[in-house]
Amino acid sequence: MHQLEPIPEGVRQALNAHGITDAQIKLCAAGDMTTEGNFAEAWLVATEQELCILTGVKAVVPKDKRFGRKQVAEQWQEVSYRTVALSAIEEVKAQSLNGNGLLVITIGEQAEVACRYSNTMARKFGQFARLLNKLRKGEQLTEKDFTAEVYQPQCPTCGRLYPNPTRRVCPRCLDKRKLFMRVLSFMPRYKKQVIQILLCMFAGSLLQILSPYVNNRVFFDEVLNPAGKYAGRIFSAVLVMGAIQLVSIAASIAHGRINAELTARVVFDLKTSVFQAMQRLSLSFFTSKETGSLMTRVNSDATHLQYFFHDGFPYFIVNAINLIGIITVMLMMHWQLTLLVLLPTPLIVLCVTKAFPKLWNAFSRRWRHNSALNSLVNDALTGIRVVKAFGKEDTERERFMQRNTKVYQVNMQVGHIQAVLFPVMGLIMGAGRPIVLSIGGWQVISGEITIGTLMTFLSYLSMLYGPLEFMTHIVDWWSSCMNAAGRIFEILDATPDVAERKDPVRLPNLSGHIELNDVSFGYEPNKTVLENIALEIKPGEMLGVLGYSGAGKSTLVNLISRLYDVQEGCIKIDGVDVRDIAVADLRAQIGMVLQDTYLFAGTIMENVAYAKPGATIEEIIRACKVARAHDFIIKLPNGYDTLIGHRGQNLSGGERQRLAIARAILHNPRILILDEATASVDTETERGIQEGLESLVKGRTTIAIAHRLSTLRNADRLLVIDKGKVVETGTHEDLIKLQGHYFKMLEKQRNALKIRGVEVSEHQLAGRAG
């Protein structure tokens, strides 16, 4: 049986009651809203003949006023049921509105809503609509239609919603131990250092525990006491104490040094592998909302792990040893007193678990307000030209004041919490001291214990609470580290959607024949950007692509260069599906000048040579000449050595574009894609660039996108795209004759010039004046 999701028992019974047997069900999906917009369950079930719409509620039997997972009795109660014959349905469409979606069916002329669903279900219903349309046309649904996994929003183990249903990783049920082992697996490469560190830590802890004993117990009771074992040997005693101190410090220095080196290396390795993995991933991974703040997240996650290695893991071991060691020694010395001293421990644990989260919360709020303030400053400074141009300095100051006030307020809150919390903690921790002093002091007087024992005890006491506090939040801290690790491994393990096939076809010498068969594509599930595009571009042909803004032109070339993969249909280059071609061959032979020019921080020389690192200086200059960039570069005081600032802000828009063109020319691809490559360049310079390109373009397949029709004067053929569809194609003359979109655009641009009193002939405008 094929379905999109399993049917729960109650619904199955309801369906059976309406005479729908399991075997008849071809397709089914659950929505989460009524058509009025209340949260409830609604089932759409399709058989070969009809579509059944079943709504109902799960009777909620609350044990108390709040509802909870366990208090919802899974009792399905039907509210309504109706059926529509599939033959009556003209069209099925999943329509996405801003806050939710509608499954709209058209019966006759009348459109109606079959089901309403939240955005959570948008993808599922997009698929449902597609399959229902197939079913409606009498086509059989096959296994292949259900390749998308069964919809499952909750983690089956703990019932928690998946943070991201398409990813299905429950952060809670993630196998933390496995993750931990994997994090540790970064360590064996450094076995030597790890063993050294462990040795240092053991030695350090041992000495640390030993030191109060020697300093107090031995010194007071055995050295200062005339009846003691080492009576009067003060000098040797001090020497021993000094030695212990020295060795302990040496161990801690060694530990610190080795640890610092190790951590730096581990984090270096980690960041390197993450960066490599990210470079491998497809573009869609980066543009999806999901990974909006990917960079910062990876960085902060790596920092988290660094803390783990540097502060967490080693200190955990040290503290554990210390804690056990100290308590053991104390118990051996005086177990009754030890137990007494440990009495406030639960209070400390309570304090740390209850009050500290408040502090952390305040800290994170402070962090947030601070970064908001920083981003405002950043904004105002990068946009300083706009601020000045509109004379908005006062407004900016006002906005700054507002945010700064918030920062001030939250700073004060943090201060207030700290002002109370730490003294109280100190008080509780100090509570052991009077106990020891009074009971111990009394016992010293009565001669039950020595003064040395008392002093030793007090020293241990002060050493006890540090590790104790550390241990209380280790759990919390551990899980946040493991989460960071989880996210990092997720990137390491992610398989790119645009992946190379196992045995890709090598095409080191493309001829540049491009063919698109019925290509459809959308960045988001419910919004097709390109629809059924069919197109053939011959080797060496220059194709001009026109269309209104947002029509899908850039998307088309993104698909050809395989930055994204098509969703339906296929793209073939030289007769081979692009998905089968070795990515390296494809990239080497397709050169793109993108609409938004990106220049890296570096010199002009480095930027032009980016695509061909081994290029000779002559090659670079020649490429810049063709791109008409040479002249302006030469005039710069530092010429080709000019450092381009972040994103090339010190160059003009047209200058940046010319550098990008030079880069593509140097790349020397078989297929050249120019997406608005000369839009910011004046027509005169553009003509110059084109003349240069003409010799270059010869014999190369070129796809040029432009709004300015004169840019496409050399195109062999023009293609007009409107709302994701090819609406016109042909030569300039063909399209004029057609009197369609192209003709209109031509007219409009001519009129635009006429207003300014410039008379142009149609041929001049299209650049065919010759």
């Binding site: 009348q110 955005n119 943070p163």
Partner: protein, 173 residues
């Protein structure tokens, strides 16, 4: 319609403001909005808010089935209440944003916030990505919560919530 733009500009920025007396909205049998505007008949129209967060009833763009703008309604208050309600229903469907009435549970864990809330549309559980990405402050007292799927939940005034809910939310503001 008076605007502050210079008259010369008004000529180019041709905004069609829909005159309330010429509009006749109705509901199709399938529950979609239809419009008769003077002589013109539009069997299906859609309505968009220009300022979904701040001016829900003002500057509403009415578009035909090809998404082409027919005109703008300056203020729904200028319409008769049943006409306004028809448009409002369409708007509310498009900008579906349940209003949070009670926060039953809010737990931040593993970088995600797990919510259990009671909204005016019924109870709902959802997950949102950590605070920075999912809480949109609209004003000092109003926030919008975005969940991982892009659903939106509105808290119009944190101060009007019960003490417990307010306390849970305040930790995020």
């Amino acid at each position: 319609m008076s605007t502050n733009l210079p008259d010369a500009l008004a000529e180019y920025a041709e905004i069609v403001f829909l005159a309330p007396e010429k509009c006749k909205f109705s509901m199709t049998a399938g529950g979609f909005l239809a419009l008769e505007y003077g002589e013109d008949k539009f069997p299906v129209v859609s309505a968009y808010r220009s300022f979904p967060l701040t001016l829900g009833d003002k500057y509403i763009s009415i578009r035909d089935d090809k998404e082409k703008e027919i005109g703008i309604i300056v203020d729904l208050a200028d319409f008769s209440s049943d006409q306004a309600n028809l448009v409002r229903a369409e708007l509310e469907r498009r900008y579906f944003t349940p209003v949070v009435e009670t926060v039953v549970k809010m737990k931040e864990e593993f970088g995600y916030i797990y919510w259990e809330v009671i909204t005016d549309r019924g109870p709902r559980r959802f997950t949102s990505r950590g605070q920075h990405d999912s809480i949109v402050p609209v004003s000092d007292t109003r926030i919008l919560i975005l969940d991982v799927d892009g659903n939106r939940f509105d808290v119009p005034d944190v101060r009007l919530l019960d003490a417990k809910s307010a306390k849970l939310l305040e930790s995020l503001m």
